[in-house]
Assembly symmetry: C3
Amino acid sequence: MSERRSRAEHVVAVADLAGTFVFAVEGALTAISAGLDPIGVLVLAFLTALGGGLLRDLLIGATPPAAISNWAYSVLVVASATGTWFLHPHLHGLPANLLAFDAAGLSLFAVAGTQKCLDRGLHPVVAIFVGPISAVGGGALRDIVINQTPRVLREDIYATAALLAAVLIVAGRALRLPARPLMITAGLAAFALRMAAVHYGWRLPTPPQ
Amino acid sequence: MSERRSRAEHVVAVADLAGTFVFAVEGALTAISAGLDPIGVLVLAFLTALGGGLLRDLLIGATPPAAISNWAYSVLVVASATGTWFLHPHLHGLPANLLAFDAAGLSLFAVAGTQKCLDRGLHPVVAIFVGPISAVGGGALRDIVINQTPRVLREDIYATAALLAAVLIVAGRALRLPARPLMITAGLAAFALRMAAVHYGWRLPTPPQ
Amino acid sequence: MSERRSRAEHVVAVADLAGTFVFAVEGALTAISAGLDPIGVLVLAFLTALGGGLLRDLLIGATPPAAISNWAYSVLVVASATGTWFLHPHLHGLPANLLAFDAAGLSLFAVAGTQKCLDRGLHPVVAIFVGPISAVGGGALRDIVINQTPRVLREDIYATAALLAAVLIVAGRALRLPARPLMITAGLAAFALRMAAVHYGWRLPTPPQ
């Protein structure tokens, strides 16, 4: 039981750091395309990478948030943003792959966020809504700061993919499925749904008139 | 004394849930008029209904916030948003009544928010400013997310009505007036001021030149 | 040691209140130039003056935040906003001096914020990034609410000046320099860098192409 728990925590930690790296690079690229200076690049990298987790931790009362109490997050964001700054001219194919990159970060954070909410004893119904905030919150904060409508409102199957991961984790936990395979499956399902939606142009229904 | 206190808490709980329902419907209607998909409807319903209370609870250190620790809020928002989605084509008169609807939510949250601040032992001067945040915060967050100037900055007698309720509650409590009639009176006063301001086009003075 | 500590805390408290006054006046002037009513003036004064400190305190888990637990902040903001409302027609030279005024608030908050983070036991690497949030956060929230791109993203040497103060304080503390002269030096360095950048039009490098 203890070993199972520590394995689950290990997956959460890895998913959280991987998502942080992915979103820091994405935030830095957004800032660079917008022609911002190094500070703007740093601010958008921090917001995109850590904003969602900070929101989640503030909401569930996990203070100080992991991104604050653990200096590894700050160092990882600064390193990712600096690397992106110097390497981006050589990343020719990246814009085309940015959607897959972003979908990976979305799935990683949806899994880590939902799991963390459940570990803190949140009611599963609440975890389904708060967990995905880790996934979509950072990008939403970044978009708000640069005066764009957040992607979560513009693209139909974005928060939906994060919600899918959250529902799978909550349901699988209720069925006592093993934690690590469950998290990996939920993350892959969210990633597949997001990529399929982008590729096939899937849309959610509009309101009845 | 204990009964009086429990009565006051009962009014706060009812006002809080009623305000949540009202603002969830309003947020959902905003999203539907903007042509958003179901996720956008859900996001705006959550932000409008729970954003103000979340801000208040984070500020006064009541973590995890009521909207997180009690699953009834999430369920109520999802149910209200879903009902609005399917019923809105039949609600022909609603746009005309939306202002009254919004004024009701504003007054309910101003009363519940101020009372909660005082119950947590906040200084009355601070409660006068933090209480109304429950009332105007959710709508402000929604407006910021969809890139509109928040109503609290656009309409003169909006936060003013919430401030009126807060001042009445703080003053009435200092005079040891009975809690339940005091809250009901403060709520009705805020509602009346807001509706009169809309009806007669009252405006606050502009700065001296 | 105890006396040295209490002196450091005294400088922090004075810097925090002075910064609050400066930013409350600046927020009120922003609202007045935008033609907002008294409530809008109050909202922008509160956001600009207290928003950065609130963000910092929420992030480091210092809840309820100082601005909430101490009524002096609310009273100071209301008094500053009211004074600005009535006196602004006589402040002819102010727009020209507003940049210096803002640079002073920026430096005061950068010093007080970083010091507070270190006093709470934050890791110095994290304090370097969270401390300046006190300095730039309030103005950023104000700009977001009125749908402008935050100054921290538009002006190159703005957050940079706050970062300079934070780095100096963290480095000076590691070298065990005396707290009060260290804070005053860090604040003056940030102020000088910001004013020189405005005067000479210094800019940070843009990304390599």
